[in-house]
């Protein structure tokens, strides 16, 4: 084994994800770029900027860009306001049911956007349980959905950081004569700020590129850049404008991601040793009241919409009934817009299975390659490819889907009618999750274990089969479940990539919600509940696996 061998099988494995990225990520994005500025390519190479006038002169587009920022900022602010007090309670007190509460609080975030939209509709929409409250203004619904969706991220980041902060620093300040309020203002808050910024940025990015929620709950009046890309491309066939909006979206998200990385790096530097902090047991009345309040709020926020959704799916004309579930297997309508639910379920499973396979193979190859580059001290290469492989995370699904349909619909690579197109896009979205699950597991294997195996007669193939593979099997399973559940719930890219004859569950939910009638509504609720159950089960499975996790070392 030479000190630097770039021909090692593990390094060559890196070519698999690299080619995958070149073809299905960079080529489509290049296509968006080209389509923005050179609309007649390849027939004529003429840079055409006339669409820019269209954008500059369109008050509608100005409003959309403004609204995109506005709704993201307001959603983030609201999430922070609700999550901050809960994070205080979670990071300071030990109480009965805390574990359960943590689990409840994390479920909304793993749910697909269409399910969240359907759940909000079931709670506060026209036919929802609390429809009588009459707060079904699209804007209110969007903001509520974003708070519901992002509360758990905010809570998780703030709680873990705050828990780490507690202890010596505050006690020292208290010894120096600072009262609890002064300690909070002068010590805790400044130390907490980087985490607040980092969490807020993350939530802002999520809300900024939110698509399913906006499209379903907002309607045409409340469009964001994402929703407008879809409208311009799919309804108005205005590809240059859609392309330019995609470019804008990519630019904005890249800047936001850069800021997020900068802030979270700063936040990480401050993190004191975790696990030292002791949780208090509530004593005073105020403490008990605060815990009860947070408990009630989290349960209400996170579980009520989900319960409302499940409830709506099982009530027909005021009676408990499984009619909507039975209707999944019927196909009474002959309308071309009708998606038979059973077909959608079938294709969702086929696509998710295929996407899982592709994401697992490419993700594993990437992890093997990055780990090996790290080991042979080719840090520069590893440092280049690691963030590159994470790019799909910071690219909005809509831009990805749009880029793919405008580039992969013609030679040299025409996949327009290929059944593989949707799984490929889903695999691209799931890939970073597989990589992030597998790479730490691979890195945790001490290299001398591989060396011991090689002195015992194991060549590279046997080391992979008998050492690496069994030791990362847990992480691989977690990555596979990630890829599967992400594919099941993916909406933004699927709405572009899936053909009319190959619908998926989220597309069916979107269609059903958009059509009038109790049966359509009920069916939307039923398949949303189904998707919710699948995703939640996947999430709980991942938690189980990762808590057993890196048991070997």
């Amino acid at each position: 084994m030479k000190a630097r061998s770039y021909t090692h099988p593990y390094v060559l494995a890196g070519l698999v994800p690299l080619v995958f990225f070149l073809v299905f990520y960079f080529y489509p994005l290049a296509g968006i770029f080209l389509r923005s500025f050179v609309p007649d390519f390849p027939a004529h190479f003429r840079i055409d900027l006339s669409f820019l006038n269209q954008i500059v002169e369109s008050p509608r587009l100005h409003h959309i860009i403004w609204f995109t920022f506005w709704q993201a900022a307001v959603s983030t602010g609201l999430t922070l306001v609700f999550a901050f007090p809960c994070a205080f309670v979670m990071s300071h007190y030990q109480f009965k049911g805390k574990k359960f509460l943590t689990l409840c609080a994390s479920i909304p975030f793993v749910l697909p956007a269409v399910v969240v939209a359907a759940a909000l509709d079931a709670s506060f929409g026209k036919d929802g349980w609390l429809g009588i409250l009459n707060i079904r203004h699209p804007l209110v619904l969007i903001l509520m959905a974003h708070v519901f969706y992002n509360f758990s991220v905010m809570l998780r980041i703030l709680t873990s950081f705050w828990t780490g902060l507690r202890g010596n620093i505050q006690e020292t300040a208290a010894m120096l004569g600072a009262g609890p309020f002064q300690v909070f203002i002068h010590v805790t808050l400044p130390l907490l700020m980087p985490a607040v910024w980092a969490a807020s940025f993350l939530v802002f990015i999520f809300c900024f590129s939110s698509f399913g929620i906006i499209l379903i709950l907002g309607g045409p009046a409340y469009a964001t850049i994402e929703a407008e890309i879809y409208r311009q491309a799919a309804h108005m066939f205005n590809l240059p404008v859609a392309s330019f909006l995609s470019l804008l979206q990519i630019g904005f998200t890249l800047v936001l991601m850069g800021l997020y990385t900068a802030f979270s790096r700063k936040a990480v530097r401050f993190v004191p040793k975790a696990g030292q902090a002791k949780f208090k047991r509530p004593g005073k009345f105020m403490e008990k009241a605060a815990i009860t309040g947070s408990f009630g709020f989290i349960i209400l926020l996170c579980l009520f919409p989900l319960a409302a959704l499940a409830g709506k799916s099982m009530v027909h004309e005021g009676q408990l009934s499984l009619i909507y579930y039975r209707a999944i297997f019927d196909n009474p309508s002959t309308s071309i817009f009708h998606i038979p639910p059973f077909t959608a379920i079938k294709f969702s499973f086929i696509f998710a299975g295929t996407a899982l396979f592709i994401a697992l193979v490419t993700g594993l190859c990437a992890a093997l390659c990055l780990n090996h580059l790290d080991r042979i001290k080719a840090k520069n290469l590893a440092g280049f490819f690691d963030p590159l492989f994470m790019l799909p995370l910071s690219t909005s699904a809509v831009t990805l889907g749009f880029g793919i349909i405008i580039t992969l619909d013609r030679p040299p690579l025409n996949l327009r009618s290929s059944i593989l197109l949707v799984p490929l896009v889903h695999a691209l979205v799931g890939f970073p999750f597989v990589l992030r699950a597998v790479l730490p597991a691979l890195k945790s294997i001490p290299n001398n274990i591989r060396e011991a195996a090689s002195t015992l007669g194991a060549g590279p193939g046997n080391i992979f089969r008998c050492i690496d593979l069994p030791l990362i099997s847990g992480a691989l399973t977690a990555g596979a479940v990630f890829a599967f559940t992400i594919s099941m719930g993916e909406f933004g890219a699927t709405i572009f990539a899936a053909g009319p004859r190959t619908p998926t569950i989220p597309l069916a939910i979107y269609r059903f919600l958009g059509q009038p009638g109790a049966i359509n509504y009920g069916q939307a609720m039923a398949i949303s509940t189904l998707l919710m159950a699948i995703t939640a089960a996947g999430f709980i499975l991942i938690e189980k696996i990762s808590s057993k996790g890196l048991q070997h070392f």
Binding site: N448, I449, G457, A458, C466
Partner: protein, 237 residues
Amino acid sequence: MESELIIHNLSKTGTEGVCLLNNINLALPRGSRLSVLGPSGSGKTTLLRMIAGLDMPDSGDIRFNGVSILDIPPHKRHFGMMFQDYALFPHLDVFHNIAFGLKMKGMPRQEQAPIVEEMLALINLKGFENRKVDKLSGGERQRVALARTLAPSPRLLMLDEPLSALDRVLRKHLLEQLTQIFSRLHITTIFVTHDHEEAFAAGSRIILMNQGCIVQAGTPKDLMLRPVNDWVRQFMG
């Protein structure tokens, strides 16, 4: 007698220009037992890793039975190496750890079992087949690692600080066991240590290394009675 392992002018420079090994020459007859002694950072482990094929020298040659082995990858050298922290496979039980080398040879399961039994008897751990390795004590791990190394009958046995992770009492006891095992198996052995008592007990010949060079080579007696310089005298106490 023709030497089995010959090391010729072996040199290696590290990444920051540090000399890891400087012109090492060595000849080991078949069945001989060599101790490589030296302070940490003296190049003992590097030398061992090169013989195993885990590191490559910048220049020089390593020959085994008259043939250069530099181009042979570690898994085809059939040398056994026991690692300082044992490097047991955490996902396998004791049986499968010991049988790993046999499995790599393509030996059928029913032929592996008697050899593993024999190894477990050798290291006094009969009945430990199905134990998880993370449930073993330090001394037990050390012995399992030895058994795993010996099971495929390597052409050369290398031990890298095999006792350093153990406490003093256990170290003494296991050193006795090790030397007994060595004298029973007629296998060429290289024993790396920073402790001269271990080196004397484990090897009939000793090389003393410092800063990538062999400072002195000879029998334990030579080193004790005729140190070549003050550094050797000091190191030997």
